[in-house]
């Protein structure tokens, strides 16, 4: 009987100091994967959807293959604009956090296409259940940055009334659900929302996003099981950005199989897509949405991308991965790739691009000015302190009224 430990421990390909090594990420040519009829039955879907990768944009920026969604230039420029807006918004808010203007922030750099393209491929009436790293959904749906900034500032116009940490947005009118600090809880909720739509005979569908690390939570299984049993009209997205804080995707169970492979076992199609390829994300989302809307049930989409920046403003990735790893991600940058595509076909230019960046930057700055005029952590206008006790219940019960009075009494006391 051996006495040598033989527990397998997943180890990332490169630690700080070592050279980045993405040999575990297979190189797939754009257009390599065929596009099945969205009405196809699960058993007729080819394995390549899971084990290869849906890609449309090649390295030269040419769109190739059956998955090319054939979007017109305006749509593409619209997508580019919203990815840029997302990125510059992220950069700005990170600076503001460093300056102590907000308590915390989480960027989505490198993952903008995952959110923006998906939002564009869905109907405005479809309900979105986001994670904390798909702010592009809000921006692509036309949410003003001021609203988002107000939330991060917990100021007088914060849609959460100061009750959530920064980036935990929601948007009722825009059909975007509330972001929870507890991972994966939105997954079965999205399935339930979709079940209700089906029960009511409505055509709207739901879509939810989690990270690959979050797929280990129980709610992933709950969502997959319920989506499968009731054929719920829902799109379940796993954003595989290779990291969950410090642990690489192998620790979440991605070492042996792509996360998309979890689908078929439940009777749910899985698709693996290049998450940095705007056209591919759009096309795959559109395909899954058509299935859901036409009664073919759920689709599990793995979006392969890379978390370029820190997990959050509290994190320092240089502690656990090579500093230069981001540059060596084989599938490039979503903004650059869409830009190259547009430019190549004369629908965009460096000057236009520079102009757009300048314009968006101006917009971000001016919206920030607006936002702080609604208050900051340190300067008013502040939320009404009474809000602390509102919305625990639909109507405030006696003990909360009493506690609110106690709180106000203390303030009085302090004054004198």
């Amino acid at each position: 009987m051996t006495r040598k430990p033989r527990l397998h421990i997943p180890v990332p390909p490169a630690r700080p100091g070592a050279d980045p090594d993405f040999s575990y990420v297979d190189r797939v040519a754009a257009g390599a994967v065929g596009r099945p009829d969205p009405q196809a039955r699960l058993r007729d879907l080819p394995d390549e959807l899971i084990y290869s990768m849906v890609r449309v944009l090649d390295d030269e920026g040419v769109a190739t293959g059956a998955w090319d969604p054939q979007l017109d230039p305006e749509q593409l420029q619209f997508g580019l604009r919203h990815m840029l807006e997302t990125r510059l918004y992220d950069d700005h808010m990170t600076r503001m956090q460093r300056q102590g203007k907000i308590s915390f922030y989480m960027k989505s750099r490198g993952e903008e296409a995952v959110a923006v393209a998906a939002a564009m491929a869905l109907k405005p009436s479809d309900m979105l259940f986001p994670s904390y790293r798909v702010q592009g959904l809000q921006i692509a749906r036309g949410r003003s940055l001021v609203d988002l900034m107000n939330q991060c500032l917990s100021n007088s116009r914060d849609m959460c009334k100061g009750r959530q940490m920064p980036v935990m947005y929601h948007w009722k009118r825009g059909n975007i659900f509330s972001i929870s600090g507890n991972l994966t809880t939105q997954y079965p909720q999205a399935v339930g929302w979709a079940m209700a739509a089906a029960i009511k005979g409505e055509d709207d569908i739901a879509a939810a996003w989690i990270g690959e690390g979050s797929s280990a939570e129980a709610d992933f299984h709950h969502a997959m099981t319920f989506a499968s049993v009731y054929r719920a009209p829902v799109i379940l997205n796993i954003v595989n950005n290779q990291y969950a804080i410090s642990t690489f995707q192998g620790t979440a169970g991605g070492e042996l199989r792509p996360f998309a492979a979890r689908g078929p076992g439940y009777g749910v199609p899985g698709i693996r897509v290049d998450g940095n390829d705007f056209l591919a994300v759009y096309a795959v989302t559109q395909w899954a949405a058509e299935r859901a809307r036409t009664g073919r049930g759920a689709t599990l989409i793995e979006l392969v991308t890379y978390r370029v920046d820190a997990h959050s403003t509290s994190d320092d990735p240089s502690r656990y991965r090579p500093k230069n790893e981001p540059e060596s991600w084989p599938y490039g940058d979503p903004v650059e790739r869409l830009k190259r595509h547009l430019t190549r076909f004369g629908q965009w230019s460096e000057t236009q691009h520079a102009a757009m960046i300048e314009e968006v930057q101006k917009q971000v700055d001016s919206e920030w000015q607006q936002a702080i005029s609604n208050g900051t952590m340190t300067e008013g206008p502040f939320l009404d302190k009474n809000e602390l006790f509102e919305d625990v219940y639909a109507d405030m019960p006696p003990h909360l009224i009493q506690q609110r009075e106690q709180m106000l009494a203390f303030d009085e006391r302090e004054k004198h």
């Binding site: 309900m127 849609m159 959460c160 009334k161 009750r163 959530q164 935990m168 929601h170 009722k172 659900f177 509330s178 929870s180 600090g181 507890n182 809880t185 997954y187 079965p188 909720q189 999205a190 399935v191 339930g192 929302w193 979709a194 079940m195 209700a196 739509a197 029960i199 009511k200 739901a206 129980a218 709610d219 299984h221 709950h222 969502a223 099981t225 319920f226 049993v229 809000e387 509102e390 919305d391 625990v392 219940y393 639909a394 019960p397 006696p398 003990h399």
Partner: protein
Amino acid sequence: MPRMNMVQAINSAMDIMLARDPNVVLIGQDIGYFGGVFRCTDGLQRKYGEHRVIDAPIAEGGIVGSSIGMGVNGLRPVAEIQFADYIYPGCDQIISELARLRYRTAGDFFAPVTIRTPCGGGIRGGQTHSQSPEGIFTHLCGVKVVMPSNPYDAKGLLISSIEDDDPIIFFEPKRIYNGPFDGDPDKPAVPWSTHPKGEVPGDYYTIPIGRAEIVRPGEDVTVLCYGTMVHVCLAAAAHTQIDAEIIDLRTLSPLDVPAIVQSVEKTGRCVVVHEATRFSGYGAELAATVQEECFYSLEAPILRVTGWDTPYPHAFEWDYFPGKRRVAAALEQILEMS
């Protein structure tokens, strides 16, 4: 007036709400075609269809999570957790999501979910069919906790719960589904049909959430109880001939403090009774509140009669169950004190 046992009253409440509100749906394990392991949903799927009375996979977390989503999309889900002992896989969705959704979205989103679940012991169910976990949920902000003690209240409170826009954990003391139980297992079972609270109107009515009821007026000591223990306490009072004022809390959270204070200020004594284990249980809140509110009226310490601080056993059930004799002893003890 029709007579119903608690199962029929609960069934009637859901029947009425399914008929009145097209957005009411039921979901749970074995509740559909089969009608539930305790028959509480008997006949409802046949009557309202498989889209409104839904058999669920065995995943309490999925049942609660999907119910939240359905609630956000305009439905009023009534979820059944087959036994309260099995609610724990749903804890994260209840505690982190259901209870706090309205607060964290400043009222923009909420899920009017009612979670029904049979609780309590006395059925030889051992540790996984006898638990009284209400104390975990009364500690949450954002959910209301209800536990009826008879068919009439069960129906009225369940209708109120389903209509309530706040999430509600609705505990059903399974030992008294078919008849009141005074804690003596050797006595022949009594059906609800002989009990005044077994008279249940066939149609719609509500009982307000947040209101306790004095089920026995008295002068000498206030007894705070709920669920099965209401009947045990009544038996103990009769047995000891102590003039106890017995209050059936009915809603555990939010608590009807005025009703309690009024009684304790009158009697000057208070005994708190529940089946759940004692340490850090719900009874502690009752004792803490009473001594805060009525300290100067109290002539004796508030006593707690509860399940022992062990898991619920299979053998020795009647040594574990806080029966008539233990409540009686507390009543006698507290009257001797001062």
